[in-house]
């Protein structure tokens, strides 16, 4: 297997994520442009111009190129599973120079920047094992401004789903313009604290406009979109109709005594890209 070539593929995956926004997000932003007016419209217009320019010039759309985050689905029959973690880490170092990316990994104790976007436990990789011999890697570079608006609520089960909804709406109103709205909000409900946060983050991988397959949950997603947008916070917190492009909910069963709610916030730059690596090492960025 040609490891250098796979590394090149992962760099290409990262470049695509940093420079080209998925179509579902662009479509949602264009819809927002149609309904907004005044200052709000100028913000969406700048965003759309920026997306276009980034794609044409091959430059990262945002200077905050994020913490490099990957979700990997590994086919259990893929031959070199043990090499994947190292290849991703090496690709991050290479991408930092080649694309380039802003050096974004700082030691929390010394304040020293590691300068290559790697460090302790970073890049952050989530591994899932699946049938077959293909490896699927999704890159979700995650910016700091939106990440700072993440929230974990360990609610009292007695507040019920109404309490969960109120928590999400209140927190998104408090966040105001900070996470670069219009945002995509991922909500993980249930599990324990860590699982709720993880489900929230993972739900950001769903395309904008995709509704949960459970109709009750889908209706709650729609209700939350409406309630947050009715706040009037608007693009960049400068007022307007579009504060969120979407709300995605995922759930896990909970402990009888706990009702964890994890909120993961993603800025309008919902950067995602996916690649597949085949059994023989050949790859495609989708």
């Amino acid at each position: 297997m040609d490891y250098e070539d796979i590394k090149k593929g992962i760099v290409q995956l990262m470049k695509k994520a940093e420079t080209e926004l998925p179509n579902d997000v662009i479509t949602a932003l264009k819809k927002a442009y149609e309904i907004e007016e005044g200052v709000a419209k100028t913000q969406i217009e700048a965003i759309l111009k920026n997306i276009d320019l980034a794609k044409k010039s091959g430059r990262p759309m945002c200077q905050d190129t994020g913490i490099q985050t990957f979700f990997v689905e590994v086919g259990v029959n893929f031959p070199d599973i043990d090499k994947l973690g190292g290849l991703i880490k090496d690709a991050v170092k290479k991408a930092t120079k080649d694309i380039p990316l802003r050096p974004n990994t700082v030691d929390p104790f010394t304040g020293e920047n590691h300068k290559d976007n790697t460090g302790d436990n970073i890049p952050y990789i989530t591994w899932d094992f699946v049938e077959g011999s293909n490896v699927w890697i999704t890159a979700l570079p995650k910016g700091g401004g939106s990440e700072n608006m993440s929230k974990l609520g360990m609610l009292k089960p007695g507040v019920g789903i109404e309490g969960v909804k109120d928590f999400v709406v209140t927190e998104m109103i408090k966040a105001g313009g900070n996470p670069c709205p219009p945002t995509i909000v991922g909500v993980g409900i249930g599990g324990g604290a860590d699982l709720a946060m993880k489900l929230g983050k993972k739900s950001l991988l769903r395309p904008v406009g995709d509704r949960h397959k459970d109709k009750t949950i889908a209706a709650i997603e729609e209700e939350l979109i409406k309630r947050i947008n009715d706040s009037g916070i608007g693009p960049m917190g400068l007022g307007g109709k579009t504060t969120v492009l979407d709300v995605h909910i995922e759930k896990a069963h909970r402990h009888p005594a706990s009702l964890p709610v994890g909120i993961a916030v993603q800025c309008w730059a919902n950067r995602r890209a996916k690649m597949v690596i085949h059994f023989d090492g050949s790859w495609e960025v989708k």
């Binding site: 200052v39 700048a46 945002c62 200077q63 401004g145 313009g177 916070i233």
Partner: protein, 182 residues
């Protein structure tokens, strides 16, 4: 209203501006985030290698690339301004800043300092890094790059028609953010 300014801008011009106006600026701006604010507040202002009072302050941690011709801006949108709220009133007073560029808004302390010292806070579209980079003509200098690293260092940008910048906090005590939250 829309205005086009060459920096520095005097108090008389700043006073004409109100929340909701849009401005474009030409001249020198400097970037400063958390670490740079902290560091510059501890420094003697008379020994600073540049004069902040002639420039606009940009809350930005840019993505830069070193080439044969020197530093080039790859992507340089604004960073979240609220992190600087704890320093900004003191910073405005010490360095005579009258135009701040950022995103997401700032709080009451900054509002009061802008009112007292006749300054404005303007919002640039968050995440519009490629668009912002396109308006930077030159990078004359960078300070404290080794100590602070690329995102936190102070970069001086020569910009042309940098904007649209929405006046979000004016020198008359009004703030778009406060009014929307209400």
């Amino acid at each position: 209203m829309e205005y086009h300014f060459k920096l520095p801008v005097d108090s008389g011009e700043i006073e004409k501006l109100h929340v909701g106006d849009v401005i474009y600026i030409t001249g020198k701006i400097f970037t400063a985030r958390d670490e740079a604010h902290h560091m510059m507040l501890e420094k003697d202002k008379n020994n600073l290698p540049f004069d902040p009072s002639e420039m606009a302050l940009y809350h930005c941690g840019p993505l830069m690339k070193k080439t044969d011709k020197g530093w080039q801006v790859v992507s340089a949108g604004p960073t979240t301004s609220s992190r600087m709220e704890i320093f900004e009133d003191e910073f405005i007073e010490k360095y005579g800043i009258n135009i701040i560029i950022g995103k997401g808004g700032m709080g009451e302390r900054t509002e009061k300092a802008l009112q007292k010292h006749t300054g404005i806070y303007t919002a640039y579209t968050g995440g519009a890094g490629a668009l912002a980079a396109d308006k930077v003509e030159e990078v004359p200098s960078v300070y404290w790059l080794d100590e602070l690293g690329m995102p936190e260092a102070v970069w001086i940008f020569k910009v042309k028609e940098f904007g649209p910048l929405v006046v979000a906090i004016d020198s008359h005590g009004r703030s778009i953010y406060r009014e929307i939250k209400r």
